[in-house]
Subunit: 283 residues, 2 copies
């Protein structure tokens, strides 16, 4: 496990927030993440880690800065981990041309198609490498991990938890891209990263995973604003709810009148998400 | 009173956050501000407004985005007003060259020296024009106003409240520039905006105002991190505390071990500041 460079560190809400960089094996590139360690008031020397996945165009600073989650993580004694949203400077032609493909748009999967497959491996990075790193190097509790995310990050949280419920013990999402194989953002990203054969897409789509019988042993919390500008074209929580119902997956989908897709929505419901994970992870 | 253009509006924490632009009479230029209106759960049809002044390099979005104050304003039924930190595109030669003078560094005063005096009038803008505007156009309670700020904004809050305690009914500051006439940031800004005659600086320095007998009828809350990189060279809360003591001004100066100058510090203590103002404004 390579060295970790701490770029800056700040006391916050009785704990410590750090911005870090390391050489990622999964990505084959330097990668940045932010990590909040709660104070020790709750007594747990090894706090469970809650991974917070951001959406398109974001980086490792966005959810930490705009989500307002730190105070609640401190109160519940949870660590927060904020990965970046894609590899950076991977050298793939065109990766910086579109805001919804390439840099800032890794979709939390391992690309299988050229020219993306060498470095665009955010699936392995978030699912395997980063949990091992925060448990080995930052004292996160081994074997107790939660995952949540916003938009593209909500997609990532749902898919990783449904694919590997032994690894992720709690899951929630805010305005997730809940059925990417059926919407323009997903068509573009999956077509590039996974290739045109849509059979391979199903393993990266929360709604299709539920339809195929993948479930999570805990209830899934999803919040969605009904004034979200991407709701009907890109997010499709209705499809997720229908698939969950058919699969017997407990899903609490809350709709919020007048709320949009922004972090102003996220910060309005984040307290409940952190509490949801704390209940399941510290329970 | 000119038209107000709403650039965007978001539901947040049961209220509404808007980003607005208008033609400022005080500045003689377009000016932007953000404004949070709480929901009506607290019953006050006209909520008191708490003005939140940001520091050097910031704009009207910074304190709103990073301060984590909205949820507490919503809980207490307060409006929040976030002005910009200077005029923009005033056309003063060199105004964009330094981060601590000109654009982003208005110091919440009316410049008296050329070439700044025509547009650099953030004192009148924040003290007079913006309160009148939010009371006339956004339903803020007339005659009940609080003011707080960070760093340069802490300087602004303290000075405006000490100069005009009839106008500002509650005041607090986070890591304020508490004695600008005695520190490099103040020397540079006051020397440019007010000219080299230091006698004129005293009316814009919280410590010197206290020494001259200006006090505020309410207790002043000030929070300061003891790992703040600007503490001894630029902020000088010790001088403020000494002057308050001599003047009989009630001042609660809290020092926080390990905290720096960032918004990670602000969000760690913001709940107490909003509560301080709510107690005095609604109480």
């Amino acid at each position: 496990m390579a060295d970790i460079a701490t770029r800056s560190e700040h006391r916050c809400c009785g704990g410590t927030l750090g911005f870090h960089e390391h050489e990622s094996e999964a990505l084959g590139l330097p990668a940045r993440f932010a990590l909040f360690r709660p104070g020790t008031a709750r007594g747990a020397s090894r706090p469970p880690a809650l991974f917070c996945l951001a959406g398109l165009t974001c980086d490792e600073t966005t959810f930490a800065t705009k989500g307002n989650a730190l105070r609640f993580a401190a109160a519940h004694g949870l660590m927060l981990v904020f990965p970046d949203t894609s590899p950076r400077r991977a050298g793939v032609p065109g990766e910086d041309e579109d805001w919804d493909l390439g840099t800032g748009a890794g979709f939390y999967l391992d690309a299988t198609a050229e020219p993306w497959r060498t470095h665009y491996r955010m699936g392995s990075y978030v699912n395997d490498e980063l949990p091992a790193l925060v448990e080995a190097r930052f004292g996160a509790a081994p074997g107790r991990r939660g995952i949540m995310g916003h938009s593209m990050g909500g997609h990532g949280a749902l898919v990783l938890a449904l694919r590997d419920p032994e690894r992720w013990h709690s899951v929630s999402a805010l305005a997730p891209i809940a059925h990417p194989a059926a919407v323009p953002w997903g068509h573009k990203a999956f077509g590039a990263y996974l290739g045109p054969d849509r059979d391979g897409w199903a393993a990266h789509d929360a709604t299709l995973l539920l339809r195929a019988g993948h479930t999570h042993p805990t209830p899934i919390l999803v919040d969605q604003g009904d004034a979200d500008q991407f709701l009907s074209e890109q997010l499709r929580p209705d499809a997720l709810a229908e698939a969950a119902e058919a699969a017997g997956q407990k899903l609490r989908l809350r709709r919020h009148a007048g709320y949009d897709h922004s972090y102003w929505f996220i910060q309005s419901v984040i307290e409940d998400h952190v509490a949801h994970h704390a209940r399941l992870l510290r329970g």
